[in-house]
Symmetry: D5
Subunit: 163 residues, 10 copies
């Protein structure tokens, strides 16, 4: 993987993120680490680690320990806030204006009712949890050598309670 | 699968869908068919078939033929519109108010930037196509017998052109 | 309870509800039944029954049977749709304009972060499920004879998955 | 209760809160106190205390006295503003994007008309006050050891005046 | 008062109002009655009567009786709905586009915080109820013969509960 | 009137107000003055004075003189801006989220068309001016000792020009 | 003026207009009359007459008389509604999507503060009335033969009342 | 014209304007100049000059020269930005909340379709340009001595191209 | 070009279009004509003809004549409305939800300021007219046989008037 | 090209752009360079270069090298951020308020469905990519010497996958 392929933080998004996001991204850039490398060090999923950087997921004590190690950020500078309870959902505007994120949103817009119909038939009346949930990103290459993204969303099925 | 597990059409959504949606859902209800059964008959993916019912995907001549067969709907009643060019994206409101669809939206809201960061590092500057794209829904049962939904989103990676 | 205390359906809301809502409310009015009486007959919670009338909750085969009995509505006229999968969340506008519903919304607006902080401290990082959930309404009379409403919201705690 | 279960303040929300919110949360974090502990010291409800921290409820002179004691914050630094008249309702966006707060909002969205219908039948034409109101949060554990949240909303019934 | 000074119903607003609104306004137009005349017959306030016509206020059995008398509308055609529980707040868009209603909205927009500050100082922390509330409209003529509108809003003061 | 009943300025609203608002409120707090006391000194209405503090009304040279006297603020620090032309309407969000201000908004939402109908019948086709306008707040105590707010809105009637 | 230069009514706008709009426009089309010709017959301004057709202005008894004459529409079919009180402001969406109307909106968007500054300096603190108001449209041809539109907005100046 | 009739800049609007707006308004206030006086010095229209101050119009080299002279602002401090290409349209919110600007917006809202109909009949299918456009503000005094505002909007007619 | 490649009208969009749209599309479908074929018959651009079908462009007498010929629609059924003045801009929602139209919108969102900067440098301060404007769509095939869309937007440059 | 025809950055837009935008525009202004000149030096398209300045396009190592050369900005000050992954779409509000950008938006609003219909007929069911995409701006002068803008949008056609 080439060196410049490192996600960094656009300065204009900073005011919507917790203060530690800047420190983490800065350290990541300086160390030249990808999320994949950090995720391996933490033993966690890549998307989960990126979500932590954007203030969308909670870190455990062990996560903080290991982030501190690999990024060279003093533990006490990030521990309290990262182990606190994230205030999720405010990183970007909705509907998204970023083209990559918009495509995901468009999938929900176009296929939302189709997903609902299929899930209802397969599972009954309920929802796929977005909390008891995990996700991963993989790369495939097709027979013509073209790369494909595979995103897997995996959530527990929760039936509506009868009361 | 129990008989009543059939997705049908809420009458209040009808005005946002093409006219053939009602005919298709009515026939599906009468025949007591699931999307899985219809999809097998058509040799297509379950979500794609549901999307066709909601006017979000184009049918081929063969699809119409087979839908006509399995649903008992006269081919000429649906062919022209279903083989036309769908006017996508208007089936439901955004942000979604339906709890199941909202959870998918929430995944985009919370993990959107994390997906972007990981994808950028894995693939470079670009997007996952929502057009050159397919998706499927699977059911898993965990060690405690609890059901989990697995949604796979698979789209071609498109790098931004340099010009 | 005086006879006129029967919730009915404002004709201007009808287009946002499933077709059976009108039949159910009409029958309820004609029979002069309260939700409390219908709920007792069904052995279900009052709010759940009202939610079914507004198309926000699924009916079981037994519910339909009993609704048919007590309301005098032919079972086949309502069974298919009521036992289908509700398309929730579109009954009224948000933010609500109805004064009673607005007060509930205002509670979320004013105390939302306070609820989050207290729940996070009591339970950790997660949410109260609105799916694995039930609710009830009770009446209290204070020492001055003034009536008070007590609404109980009871939902399973779902911790965010670590992945 | 483990030490890290302390609600703190996301830095990106600070601009929507009164200035004393930061001082209170900082002191709370430093002292390692939960809202439950602070509420006991003040003889007030936990949600009410959290609401004060977020600028959504007025403090009495005695509250300020006791907060100063337990948090070690000089009384004069917070008294004037906290005993002033709160400018409520601006802590977070509506519709909420925080998953926990969204679930409460979704309850209003889905069950709003059901609550209205049941309350109208039980009490007549009026509203449940959100002013002459209190609320509490409790924890239950079900037979399988799973935790449940119980939120009680208790408000005075106000009938519409006839004029 | 000249004959043509009778408020009637714009046909394009009808879909947002309950069905009886049309019947009442039609009868009022046919009988050539003002709200003042109807209000006198009912022994109620003029604004309250107009609000009933727009589906924003509940009618008592006696109101229906008297409306039936004065308007010549059969009682049974309006009783059930008018004595039901109004679904308030949907008569017009907000922000209002009607110039007369916009001016009232603008008063709230410009003087909202000033009212709050003065009421807080006069009454403490609380609100003026819009439920336990009445209002009237009067006409004054100044020394130059120019007409002035005087609207009186009178609501019970509700202090925020301490809990 | 107890000493702590003084309206002050929430720090999070400051960016929407003119710079002099902070100076005036600070001085008011320091001097321990209510709007009633300031209004008496200026010979103006209480709501008008509060509106000036929020940048919603223009001050005359005499107003500035007297405000300077009673608040101990140097005249030159406030004269130019306060005697300038107010940029009205941006103090708070609309729809209001503050519960007290929301109730006033709700009155317009629910009774807007009723006010219009009654005013049209009493005055013809036109509006109540919000410019050639004054307003006052009074306190009443009912036979049970409960306080009531009386807000009087008084505006010149302006008939639509015929052209 | 060529025959086809007659404004007519787009069928998709009809639901936002009063019922008489359709009758008037139909008759106007059938008689082949311009607003200029109708305005001359009525002795009123062209824009005012067009506004009446769109339900934005009240007709007098004489207007109805003359409209009936020139359009051949029976007086009783239109008198009651047209002489009623218009429910203004709902003819089109705002911001406007019609290019011609958008340009007028853009003038307000770009020059709004400039107009305010100049008017404040010329007239003091107040507004230009949109009620005690008239407007006209004229055509000019410049030295190159190119046509220019001249719209004149003329409204009474209303100073803010001091109270 | 009395001395205090000088438009100045509300501090809360500054963040939406280019940096030079503050310098210009400050200098204008210090010199005690009206837009009329500045416009005469520049040989330009009053509204155009005010628009330049708000960053809504481009200045020529000569305008900058003359503004520098009359306001005593060093030319180099303002030349680059003022002679640059304005980023128009962001000075105030739309719909406007300022009462004076709202009235202009309301004219478009109420008379938009009437203007369109009349212009279409007079000119054909096209628009009045807001670019190839000028405007002026005049004062009239009626027979009762009351002041009236006359705003003239003059724009080139652009017919839709046929292609 | 294969037979089924004919754009038709989604039934759910009909209420936003003029009545003649349905007749034209129905006739076009029945005759099996593409816009290219119709455009050739009319001697006009393909996009212009499609725009006429959607009610976004005016037809000339000759256009109506030729449309009538080629589509077999009686001239008098469409002439009056199609030769009237289009009420543009309401065919679809903005932001667009249709994926194809959204991509065009996204180009404006992402490159809007870049277009402005380049145009300002090339042409000065002004706009590209969308009125005095034409557009065409072409197909290119690249060296790998992949099809590319080329859309050309061509509009007259309009400099802002100096006044 | 005259010297002052240089696009610069309005200070009020800065908070929506990445930090390097200011440095680049400042250097460009100081060097007196147009985007055309910079584009020639980089061997890239003019719009692409402007898009880079606004943070809407990624720079290659070579681009940074050459920008550093021509603008005299130290490479290390801009390399990391400019070679990072742009967070696109937030430069300006949508709908656009800038007149030039609005015209482009209006083209999408008015001709969106026409483009879709023509593209569907020419290419089938799919979209024009905005990612695998390039664009250019050209100047034409017509026979009367009037300048015209020609914008070419060129995107790869992507058919919807069948699955």
């Amino acid at each position: 993987m080439s060196e410049q392929r490192l996600a960094s933080l656009d300065s204009s998004i900073v005011s919507r993120l917790p203060a530690y996001s800047v420190s983490l991204f800065d350290a990541k850039t300086e160390k030249g680490l990808t999320f994949e490398q950090i995720a391996q060090h933490l033993g966690r999923a890549e998307v989960a680690v990126a979500a932590m950087f954007y203030g969308q997921a909670q870190a455990s004590a062990e996560d903080v320990e290991k982030l501190s190690e690999i990024l060279g950020v003093p533990k006490e500078a990030i521990a309290k806030q990262m182990m606190g309870f994230p205030d999720r959902g405010r990183a970007g505007p909705m509907p998204p204006v970023e083209p990559l994120i918009y495509r995901l949103y468009e999938v929900v817009q176009n296929y939302g009712y189709a997903f609902k119909a299929v899930l209802n038939e397969k599972f009954g009346d309920g929802i796929m949890s977005a909390i008891c949930f995990n996700t991963k990103v993989e790369k495939e290459v097709d027979e013509n050598g073209a790369p494909w993204v595979v995103i897997t969303l995996r959530g527990k099925w929760l039936p509506f309670s009868r009361f």
